[in-house]
Amino acid sequence: MSFRLGVDVGGTFTDLLLINDDTGATYTAKVPSTPSDSSVGVLNGIEKICRTSGIDPRQIRSVMHGTTVATNAILTQKGAKVGLVTTKGYKQVLHIARSFVPGGLGGWVIFNKQPLLAPLEHTVEAAERLSSGGEVVTPLDEADIRAKLEQLREAGIEALTVSLINAYASGVHEERIAEIAEEVMPGIPVSLSSRVVPEMQEYERTETTVVNSFVRPEVSSYLDHLEAEIQARLADEVQLSILRSDGGLATCDSASYTPVNLLLSGPAGGVAGAIWFCSRGGFDKVLTFDVGGTSTDVALIEDNHARLRRETRVGDVAVRAPSVDVRTVGAGGGSIAFVPELTKALRVGPDSAGAEPGPAAYGKGGEQPTVTDANVVLGYLPANQKLGGDMEIRKDLAEAAVQKVADAMGVPLKEAAEGIVRIANEHMFGALRLISVEQGYDPREFALCGFGGAGPLHANALGILMDAWPVIVPPSPGVLCAYGDATTRVKDEASRSLIKGFSQLDKGGVVSILEGLTRQVSESLEQQDIPADQQTITWQADVRYQGQALLLTQDVSPESLREQGLGLLQSAFDAEHEQLFSFSLDEEHELVNLRAIARAPRPNITEREWSSQATDLADAINGESPIYFEGADHNATLYDRERLCPGHIVPGPAIVTEMDSTTVVFPGYQAEVDKVGNLLIEPVGRQGKE
């Protein structure tokens, strides 16, 4: 018997999911997160899940972990004291940044810059210079940089970044400075821009590498500690893997070296979990939305894969690291509604009541009206529902808060509440459009999947706005990330930058590069004990018109190129360009990157067995509660999700409650339980998609 364990650390709860590799049986557990040292929560959780399931911890062979340690270090500005080495003349590369000031005309009047993650007082310049081709123009002055590194050591820096001009073309000087740093300040982790992100654009490369340094001591000490504790409590050979932002798994060592790749580890886990449940329900094109306290994350899944992008954003920090293309909009349960005096418009967010004091309804001293309060006023979040099992909802406080907005707008209470929810939905809708319509996808061809604590509350409404059906609410939508962690496939990729016009390329050369990349990536998986015959390999090419900034990624294979030539890529690019932008050009195409991706097989997990004696739907009813929808009062039936079985059809108006989430089904809609336990919300009378 062997088991795999998925662990997701969220802001409030740490969720765990244990899967029996042989039988597919699953066990879940939820324990409070321990923000000061999240490994404590993880270890508590492991103890709890083994105790409640009766499983011997030594049978757990692999632990897959999604972590927000890196993200939190940035959001709370509590990272390492970073020293930075730049090329002479570029000390202020982060200070000047891209000279960009947000806002429209006059935006500069109110703009204040955030402090730099590597402050100017800890930035030094190396006397050296490379050309754009990577040739040495001015050799590195080693004595000079050694003296400056000694100053940084005296200043007490905790991590060092070296980012030199044109280092994307050659790391020769960065590597030498790293050697000197190792002598001058042994033990201080050094991040080199030529290793972390060897891409053109000095500001972005420097910022990315500095972010890596900023989070590195915190992440590596956390992971080292966690790995040691896990090895002590579980089997010695237990493998700890960390979910990267791009949805792949990283070993502990690689995660510690480039933690900048973990910034979206948490959201990537949620998307992976959504893929797990949606794919088993038969849906391979899905738009996901994860509604949390302060924001909503959305992503697009096609053919059971999440779209990726080359940039990761956390708060105000943007770095060049691949991540699941999760877009975030500042609308969540805690978003505050207000009415500006002058325009009398209703605004929701981006300010949030956060976890403290939280929405008024939580009774923790919050007085500002939030989206959650509006949901309480509307009855979507019934007052007798306990959040996360023990938090009480105060309807009176929610009403008092929302009344302020109602008064400012001069409308009745429930109308104001519905307005707040509609505006919040509209923000989420905007984010979903951004990843679908605006990328040339028709949302009507997609299913929607809502998760996170508040996603199922807004799911039906977003289905209506997007006209995307069914709306899928997976089982345990609040612990979906742990499912994602546990079911993620090992994945690796190898890529090569070419940046060459097609007229300078020949078919044979491109094919042989692809084949080389295939060998490289395949060997990497073999080293992780995944034999070549079990790997799935796919290939991609990034193409653009010479001179453009965009890249459109085309799927390709060595075989099709061999047969049909490079023209295949050009015409596929032209077609997509035409679809996205309504024009194509008679310009030289440029092949920017080639990539081979290898994936391990999906873990073999058997389906949950539903109890053979199907219960009656009526047995799941546990009350009723008034709701307000489209300007009218309705009486919704309350259902206990634990008691719903495949085949059940819950007619709206209804509210389906479970430990960590609440699903609303509006009048005229229904929710069917599918074979894997998903709730599929659809308009009554609509044919299913399958």
Binding site: K88, G89, Y90, Q92, V93, H95, I96, R98, S99, F100, V101, G103, G104, L105, G106, G107, W108, V109, I110, F111, N112, K113, L120, E121, R129, S131, S132, I165, N166, Y168, M200, Q201, E202, Y203, E204, P340, L342, T343, K344, A345, L346, R347, V411, G419, R422, I423, E426, G430, R433, L434, E438, G547, Q548, A549, L550, H577, F581, S582, F583, L585
Partner: protein
């Protein structure tokens, strides 16, 4: 004769009630549509000016041509009145001639694309965008000849033409235009990108009208205009006094030996109407620094400048235009007579914002910012590289944001929305040069309780023979400080030849021959300071010294005495501050570094350049 709009569906759009929430939703969706226009543009454009720097401005208007979302105000009403022909579904218009569109675009490099948006046979919206083309022909690479005397020297002039007629591209016209520019593939791609961007906006409008109904949609756009009207009426009552108030600022010279040119504006309120009168502004220049200022655009500047303080999330638009009247004397540098040259209008366009700041600020000094980086200086470098291929670099410079009520001005940033610098590695990879220095200039920000931001020094090491052009200003007059703050440091340009010989270059010049190995040192100017520098926390001054943004010597401007390591000498600081307080004029609202006469008298000694001659009406430049 006004344009004839062909609408097979003759049912007029009805005004209906729209609830607040629907209105807010449509407002939000229109903001998204506008953002999407930017996204499409930046992804598909090719010239570094547009794709990296963001020098392009989108707009969406309602069916009457009033701007609902955008930045520079609508010009469609004016266009519809002057365009002498039919407007049909599928038509797309292109123009770049300021004299033909009442200054909607203000020089030939800005190409303006107008797309009428039809749904079910009715005109429901307009989408438009103008973008700065890297070259439109004319006498110098980059098409910004300072010494041009008429617009005919500045590139190809495109009157409003149907570049698409009922969906069909007019190839011949496009090819004719592209035949006249130096980098046709950039123009072609940028033009396509702008059209694609406008079409995207058009699709979004049609979808929204479909979702909410044409009448609800168009009524909501009307209400958004009304929202701005009501908001701006309040603002005008608050910030514009009934008694007249004047302010003047300058551009230093015209590149032809005349200057400074005075921009004078007087503001007052009559009832709810704000009046801005530019009487007292100097005559048009004989060179290309004239700015053909569209009155509506000025209204927009005024609104944008003030509304941020009240509801920054409002979707700012044209709705308040009737509340503002703008008077500009014909023949002045802000309304020159055809065919005056216009290409280098960027200095005046920027300076207008300083004029506005000084004008409005007098009533509410605490809310006023100092003079900022009110320009976008240009550096152009062209020639043939070692492979014999033509290259043409166009760079925009950045500088110091002024000291403001909310805090210090950021160093080396942009006053223009959406502008970003071009990564130096990109420039080095595609052009024969190396950028050896890219840093802000120590002590260049004006001292103040909130200091001005530093200007930027860019050191260009040129690796091919060729020519350079420079367009900048504030080399003579100072970026002023306010409320006791000092002016910022002025701009400066220097050519250091490979043999070590140094030469100060004028702020505005073309056709400067350069050789491989030459170094161009391009210094922009700092922002003015806000508030008395003696009130600045000495610890903040010391921090800036440690960061290398203020020197130990420069700290004395704040009355702060530091040792070489940046530690504060408390007693020396107190003594110096007491001494300085005695001699400071604390009553002056503006600190300009002297009168024009004084500044001119010390010009040559301080700048290495001769002082320009004073402009005179009736003789200079009027045709």
């Amino acid at each position: 004769m006004p344009a004839n709009i062909i609408q097979p569906n003759s049912t007029p759009l009805q005004k209906v009630d729209v609830d607040t929430v629907t209105l807010d939703i449509i407002e939000n969706a229109m903001a998204n549509a506008r953002n999407e226009m930017d996204a499409v543009l930046f992804r598909t454009a090719m010239s570094p000016g547009i794709r990296e720097q963001g020098d392009a401005f989108p707009m969406i208007a309602n069916h009457e041509g009033k701007m609902v979302v955008g930045q520079f105000g609508s010009f469609i009403t004016g266009f519809m009145q002057s365009y002498n022909g039919e407007i049909e579904d599928g038509d797309i218009f292109l123009t770049n001639d300021p004299y033909m569109c009442d200054g909607a675009v203000s020089h030939l490099p800005d190409w303006l694309v107008l797309v009428p948006v039809f749904k079910d046979g009715r005109l429901i919206n307009w989408a438009a965008m103008f973008g700065h083309m890297s070259d439109v022909g004319g006498k110098v690479p980059g098409s910004l000849p300072t010494d041009a005397q008429t617009i005919f020297e500045e590139g190809i002039r495109i009157p409003p033409v149907k570049i698409y007629k009922k969906g069909e591209l007019n190839h011949d016209v496009l090819e004719l235009i592209l035949h006249n520019v130096r980098m046709p593939r950039w123009n072609r791609s940028d033009f396509n990108a702008i059209v694609a961007s406008c079409r995207t906006a058009g699709r979004r409008c049609v979808e929204l009208a479909g979702r909410f109904g044409d009448d609800v949609f168009s009524s909501a756009l009307g209400m958004m205009l009304e929202r701005n009207y009501i908001a701006m009426r309040e603002i005008i009552r608050n910030v514009v006094p009934e008694d007249k108030r004047s302010f003047e600022d300058y551009i230093c010279d015209d590149g032809a030996g005349i200057g400074p040119y005075t921009i004078r504006c007087t503001m007052w309120r009559e009832g709810d109407k704000a009046i801005f009168d530019f009487e007292g502004t100097d005559p048009q220049a004989p060179s290309s620094v004239n700015f053909y200022l569209n009155e509506e655009m000025f209204k927009m500047f005024f609104g944008a400048f003030t509304i941020n303080l009240f509801d920054p999330s409002i979707l700012f638009n044209d709705g308040f235009y009737d509340l503002v009247e703008v008077r500009i004397p014909q023949g002045s540098i802000l309304k020159p007579n055809f065919p005056a040259a216009l290409s280098c209008r960027t200095h005046l366009l920027g300076r207008i914002f300083d004029v506005m700041g000084g004008l409005l600020g007098q009533g509410t000094p605490d809310a006023m910012s100092a003079a900022g980086f009110s320009d976008s200086p240009h550096f152009m470098y062209s020639g043939y590289d070692d492979k014999g291929e033509w290259f043409q670099l166009f760079q925009i410079g950045f500088g110091g944001i002024p000291g403001r009520p909310v805090g210090d001005g950021p160093d080396g940033h942009s006053l223009w929305p959406g502008f970003t610098n071009v990564p130096n590695e990109f420039v080095e990879a595609y052009f024969p040069l190396r950028i050896e220095t890219y840093e802000t200039i120590i002590d260049s920000g004006g001292a103040g309780k909130h200091r001005g931001g530093n200007g930027i020094r860019v050191g260009y090491r040129l690796l091919a023979d060729g020519e350079i052009s420079i367009h900048d200003d504030r080399w003579l007059t100072y970026p002023w400080g306010v409320n006791g703050g000092d002016p910022g440091m002025r701009s400066r340009k220097e050519l250091v030849k490979a043999n070590g010989e140094r030469r100060v270059l004028p702020s505005k010049c073309d056709h400067i021959k350069v050789e491989t190995g030459d170094l161009v040192v391009f210094d922009t100017w700092g922002g003015g300071g806000w508030g008395n520098p003696l009130e600045r926390d000495p610890a903040a001054v010391a921090t800036d010294v440690v960061k290398g943004l203020i020197s130990v010597e420069g700290a004395r401007r704040y009355g702060v005495v530091l040792d070489a390591k940046g530690a504060i000498d408390q007693s020396a600081t107190e003594a110096l501050r007491t001494e300085m307080a005695g001699s400071r004029d604390t009553d002056a609202l503006f600190s300009r570094g002297g009168t024009i006469e004084q500044i001119k008298a010390r010009c040559e000694a301080e700048t290495g350049l001769p002082a320009p001659a004073t402009p005179v009406w009736n003789t200079a430049g009027v045709h």
